[in-house]
């Protein structure tokens, strides 16, 4: 039976161009390019599925030693697409059934075969090349899962979604605490302020920083250098790093699954929230949201029957 594909016919058809894949077999470097520049490369569900599929394909391609993630246009990636309808249900429905959103959240993040773990558990060396915005899921599901990060000095990196989505995944991620240290992880999660590439280097996330115009060359040089490592030796190093990461419990993105399943289930009326937010701001959208039909604020204290 074929794997369930999520998304609309249009979004599934668009994904191949929105996630481009190139392999330089001479150097052993593969490149995955997020190509949705008009949306700062926000990832739709089919885009993430395509990345997962590509990582699976790469796993069994002996010519590929290093995988580089990059973004076309002004930014690396602004995170997950939040104005997307792909079969979600309304909130009151999803609380009674295991909806497509939860199943998808499980497939993508909780499951060991999901999106972020397809990157973090890859047997290849992974590099994220960051410029412009690297926000939300792009930060904690791609950049933080890659082995090395090369960034433009003025890149804007962080859990910016925590400003409006609620859960500050960056605070609770074991992985991010290991990468940044606990104080810095809390600062990024509880303030949602972006780190520059330079600051991210000083905190330990980024391996090398350069100017935006030199970023492709610096990344390519690093990728080719790593790909030139003898295959057996590279695989030995990657295997022992993956094993040690497992021992340190850094590969279980539980909070990522929680976060993803939380906000990827936006129903049509929830999508009105974002439309309203664009017009009157998040505060106004919150007020409007309370008035929508069937809305129930789970934080409200229910009147107890006498």
């Amino acid at each position: 039976m074929a794997a369930k594909r999520y998304g609309t016919d249009e979004s599934i058809a668009a994904a191949e161009d929105q996630v481009q894949f190139d392999v330089d077999r001479d150097s052993g470097v593969a490149t995955i390019t997020l190509n949705r520049p008009e949306k700062h490369n926000a990832m739709s569900v089919p885009m993430r599925d395509r990345i997962t599929d590509l990582m699976g394909q790469i796993e069994f391609d002996d010519d590929i030693k290093v995988v580089v993630f990059r973004g076309a246009g002004r930014s690396f990636c602004s995170g997950n697409e939040i104005n997307e309808e792909w079969g979600q249900r309304r909130p009151h429905e999803r609380r009674r059934t295991l909806t497509v959103g939860y199943r998808y959240g499980a497939d993508m993040a909780w499951g060991r075969l999901g999106f972020s773990q397809a990157i973090s558990r890859s047997s290849k060396i992974t590099i994220a090349q960051l410029h412009g915005y690297c926000a939300a899921a792009a930060y904690f599901m791609i950049a933080c899962k890659c082995d090395l990060v090369v960034a433009a000095d003025d890149a804007r990196i962080g859990a910016l979604e925590a400003r409006f989505l609620g859960p500050a995944g960056a605070v609770a991620s074991v992985h991010i605490n290991r990468i940044l240290g606990m104080k810095a992880a809390r600062r990024t999660g509880f303030t949602a302020q972006a780190m520059s590439g330079s600051e991210a280097q000083s905190l330990g996330l980024v391996y090398a920083v350069t100017t935006a115009d030199q970023l492709p060359d610096v990344t390519a040089t690093l990728a080719r250098r790593l790909a030139a490592t003898p295959t057996h030796h590279q695989q030995y190093l990657v295997r022992r790093i993956r094993a040690a990461e497992g021992l340190m419990d850094t590969s279980v993105p539980s909070i990522t699954g929680l976060l993803v399943s939380h906000f990827l289930q936006s129903a049509p009326d929830e999508m009105d929230f974002w439309k309203t937010a664009k017009e009157v701001g998040v505060g106004g959208a919150l007020d409007a949201d309370k008035k929508r039909k069937g809305a129930a604020d789970p934080r409200a204290v229910a009147e107890r029957p006498r």
Binding site: G181, Y207, A243, L247
Partner: protein
């Protein structure tokens, strides 16, 4: 190998520690025994590892032995729970490494297993992970943070002293002619602590290290060794 004792500090001096990188079993055995003796000496609060030569642990020459004579002996003298690295890492006393010049291979493993490190401004630090399967990646990750440790292992970059200091691998960075005095000063600071406090703190630290996967990572060494040496 020379061991001396003065005012709470047990100092183990060698020309350099590179014999460990060459899997010199006698050297590893003697070093382990020297540490064990100081661990149980009531007058010792600090165990200091010092190289008297220009380099703490220089890289080997071409043709040097780069693997042990056999896995059982390797476990006994290098990778096992009673071997040199775990004896240092889980020592009852505060272990200080004093690094000058080049520090590569097993020398860097000693630095990772020690509590405190004083380094000269001329020092450099090579990743131990390419050639030393018993090197503990969890310790590196805890010391310098995860991504830096990964990059160090994958790129095989040699870290200059200033960078090693900036990322937390080195506690104190000193001009070469002041390294000994800084080490002495640091050791005396530790020696002002009560002995039972030091030992209890080290016991507590063991639980923290194990909670972070350090012990399990040591236990993985035979798997890494088979992977590294078995596939060549």
């Amino acid at each position: 190998m020379n061991t001396s004792l003065a005012v709470g500090v047990g100092t183990i001096e060698v020309d350099d520690f590179s014999p460990l990188s060459r899997y010199d079993h006698d050297f590893a055995h003697d070093l382990r025994d020297a540490v064990l003796e100081l661990n149980d000496h009531d007058d010792v609060k600090v165990v200091l590892l010092r190289a008297t030569g220009p380099d703490f642990a220089p890289p080997g020459a071409a043709g040097d032995q780069d693997r042990p004579s056999g896995l059982p002996a390797w476990r006994r003298d290098f990778a096992g729970s009673a071997a040199i690295y775990q004896t240092l890492c889980f020592s009852k006393k505060v272990v200080v490494t004093e690094v000058q010049g080049r520090c590569t291979g097993a020398g860097t493993v000693l630095v990772l297993c020690s509590d405190l490190t004083v380094a000269g401004e001329d020092s450099t630090f090579g990743s131990p992970f390419a050639a030393i399967p018993e090197a503990n990646f969890a310790l590196a990750s805890l010391t310098m943070r995860l991504n830096r440790a990964k990059a160090w292992a994958l790129t095989d970059d040699v870290l200059p002293a200033e960078q090693a200091h900036a990322i937390g691998l080195v506690n104190f960075l000193e001009p070469v002619d002041q390294v000994w005095s800084r080490t002495a000063s640091l050791a005396q600071d530790v020696c002002r602590m009560p002995l039972d406090g030091i030992t209890m703190s080290k016991m507590l630290l063991q639980a923290v290290l194990d909670g972070h996967g350090v012990g399990r990572e040591f236990d993985m060494a035979p798997h890494y060794a088979r992977d590294l040496w078995g596939g060549k």
